[in-house]
């Protein structure tokens, strides 16, 4: 079964994103003995952001492996195991920590297939938590997906809801390529963090894949294309619902993956609406928001009946104090103003 549209699942069972993610991992671990999980606090703790809850009990310490705080060593070990045909899922606790182990990720995991002329495959899923909004400061709140997406050789997946989280995880594990799976803490449905209502949603019981590289129209609309991803999809949907009352009909495009990026869906949408707003929780410059605007402009600047607008983190480390952090995150307030702006109101 393959879902290409976020609204497809017809089920009444509701799960949080974290449970949906874990369900996919567990199903693949059942199906394939080569799948195993490694990372810091993935065992008894169940993942700091509940990305592995219950897996240790079910699969034991040989297949759910707590590691020392040695990201270079254990991510590298995942690469070596993948080269030998295993299918590791390795967790980098926060994407913010990429700097201690990026060499393994981008110079090895992502390049070995190419350098080997396609003779060596590296089927890893690198899971990592991203995002801010709870005052965790400049080293624990970043999205950084632009950084990963810029470097070739790894797919980059960014689910926004439980059903996609499950289907994209299944696809990621089955993919013969390295896949970086970036989950926003704010969509996991954690009991100890302010919950987005959509962090719990319907999730089919059976296995299914959500194809990597296919965006979803999370909400169809006619006036402005809001291209966004992960937690910001929810803020965009909230604003869209609200502005429907103001007679502004927003189309919300959930990118779902950055590599591959579903340019066609973006172009098709902007072709209809003529207006583009990109909402991105990563830093503004040299990242996702610029890329999306460029993909539209390089197709045809004439598609844009108004200057495209971006709501992103201005180029500033994420501040700690709540008011400061709110000011730099792509909040509903900022999105709303931006929609008015792009609509010329």
């Amino acid at each position: 079964m393959s879902l290409t549209d976020a609204s497809a699942p017809t089920t009444t069972r509701r799960l949080s994103t974290s449970k949906a993610m874990v369900e996919a991992i567990a199903a693949e671990m059942d199906r394939d003995q080569d799948v195993f999980v490694m990372g810091e606090d993935v065992g008894a703790y169940g993942g700091i952001f509940s990305s592995t809850t219950g897996l240790l009990d079910r699969f034991g310490p040989q297949r759910v492996v707590d590691t020392p705080i040695s990201e270079t060593a254990f991510i590298g070990a995942a690469i070596g195991a993948a080269v030998e045909g295993m299918r590791p899922i390795a967790e980098l606790m926060f994407a913010d920590f990429f700097g201690v182990c990026m060499d393994q990720i981008y110079n090895h995991m992502a390049k070995i297939h190419y350098e080997s002329g396609g003779n060596v495959r590296v089927p890893i899923v690198l899971t990592t938590a991203v995002g801010g909004g709870y005052s965790d400061g400049a080293q624990h709140s970043q999205c950084l997906w632009g950084t990963f997406a810029h470097l070739p050789g790894m797919k980059v997946v960014v689910p926004s809801n439980p059903a996609d989280a499950k289907g994209l995880m299944t696809s990621a594990i089955r993919d013969d390529n390295p896949v970086v799976y970036m989950f926003h803490k704010g969509i996991m449905g954690l009991p100890w963090m302010a919950k987005n209502p959509r962090s719990v949603g319907p999730v089919p019981e059976e296995d299914y894949e959500v194809p990597i590289g296919k965006a979803a129209i999370a909400r169809p609309g006619t006036d402005v294309t809001v291209a966004t991803l992960s937690l910001s999809v929810h803020h965009a949907l909230d604003v869209a619902d609200e502005l429907a009352g103001d007679d502004i009909d927003c189309e919300v495009v959930d990118l779902r993956s950055l590599v591959p990026l579903d340019t066609d869906t973006i172009l098709e949408s902007v072709g209809r609406t003529g207006r583009l707003l990109v909402v991105d929780e990563d830093y503004r410059s040299f990242g996702v928001s610029g890329e999306i605007i460029a993909r539209v402009a390089e197709r045809d600047p004439g598609l844009l009946t108004a200057p495209p607008v971006r709501v992103a983190v201005p180029d500033v480390p994420i501040p700690y104090a709540r008011g400061l952090e709110d000011a730099v995150l792509p909040t509903a307030d900022r999105i709303r103003s931006a929609v008015f702006g792009v609509m010329g109101r």
Partner: protein, 324 residues
């Protein structure tokens, strides 16, 4: 050890504990009934150092404000013991304009250049900058020393290795401190290395290594005296591991379901232990205990009041201060 020093160590431990208890109170006060990490006057992750007071008190007693300390994600005990401005530190934890970082840093990012204090939330990555501070002291011919702190979990991170090697090679005035509280979040020491003492790693770099057992503040004080003296006189770095105790969760909100040693924890609290020791030795009496507690409480509550009075930073200035 002379009585005055013992009293000072005790009082410092009390001050730290009092501070951590107050932060604990303030942190949880407005996160009820359901714990929400981002809510309240102090939002975000909160790593408290209760149980690890002996390390900071013992080490920092050997330092002056001309010496540097780089601490970790669990920085309060070292900040306090090294003399970071308590008011401005507290204000930073509350995210206020009078905070050390004007609200931009938070509890894992406390910088007080007046006493050369800093910390970082990235495991073991506080070590390398300490080398540079030590290098600056060395180049300028001061006798300043840099103390670099990590946990035992961090000792398995690459930055640890590179830093010890470089410091030994350049004979930098550094004291590397490893706080072995037996846990890296939920991962016990036994699941992160198969060696029993990080002090044994010192030999891999050509520096002396020493492990202090039993969370002993006086043991730390004495071992640190040697290490600091060695650094100050140009003989180079040392490694000091202290077997200490994480009295509470890794961070606030940590359910600690993984923690099989929990029953034994209260009995290992170093504060009553040391108090008892000093009472038995006749160094401490009821009055001294009471006055230590009262003084600490006054300083801490004063700092909290200062923090609460300080305004929140203006959102429109969020993007300022990226560049000098």
């Amino acid at each position: 050890m002379d009585t005055a020093t013992r009293l000072d160590l005790y009082r410092m431990m009390v001050l730290i504990r009092t501070f951590e208890e107050a932060i604990l109170r303030e942190y949880h006060a407005d996160k009820k009934p359901v714990f929400d990490i981002g809510a309240g006057a102090i939002p975000g992750e909160m790593h408290l150092s209760a149980g690890q007071e002996p390390v900071a008190a013992g080490v920092c007693a050997q330092l002056t404000s001309a010496d540097a300390v780089t601490a970790t994600h669990r920085p309060h005990h070292f900040a306090i013991a090294h003399g970071v401005d308590l008011h401005r530190m507290t204000a930073e934890i509350f995210g206020r304009v009078d905070g050390l970082g004007k609200g931009r840093g938070g509890h894992m990012h406390l910088f007080d250049p007046d006493v050369h204090f800093s910390c970082s939330g990235i495991i073991a990555e506080g070590y390398p900058p300490a080398l540079g501070q030590a290098l600056a002291f060395q180049r300028r011919g001061t006798d300043g020393v840099a103390v670099a702190v990590t946990g035992e979990g961090a000792a398995n991170q690459g930055a640890f290795h590179e830093s010890l090697n470089l410091a030994a090679l350049w004979k930098l005035p550094v004291v590397f401190v490893v706080e072995d509280n037996e846990w890296g979040i939920s991962v016990p020491r036994s699941a992160s290395t198969c060696i029993t003492s990080n002090a044994d790693r010192a030999a891999a770099y050509g520096m002396p290594g020493r492990r202090v057992e039993d969370n002993s503040v006086e043991g730390v004080h004495q071992a640190a005296a040697e290490a600091v003296a060695r650094a100050r006189t140009g003989e180079g770095p040392s490694l000091l591991e202290v077997h200490t105790l994480r009295l509470w969760g890794h961070f606030e909100g940590d359910p600690q379901a993984y923690r099989h040693d929990l029953d034994g924890v209260p009995g290992r609290d170093p504060l009553p232990t040391y108090e008892q020791e000093l009472r038995s030795a006749g160094v401490l009496d009821e009055a001294a205990v009471t006055s230590a507690a009262a003084d600490a409480s006054e300083r801490v509550e004063d700092a909290i009041a200062f923090a609460r009075r300080s305004p929140a930073p203006a959102p429109k200035e969020a993007a300022d201060l990226v560049f000098a």
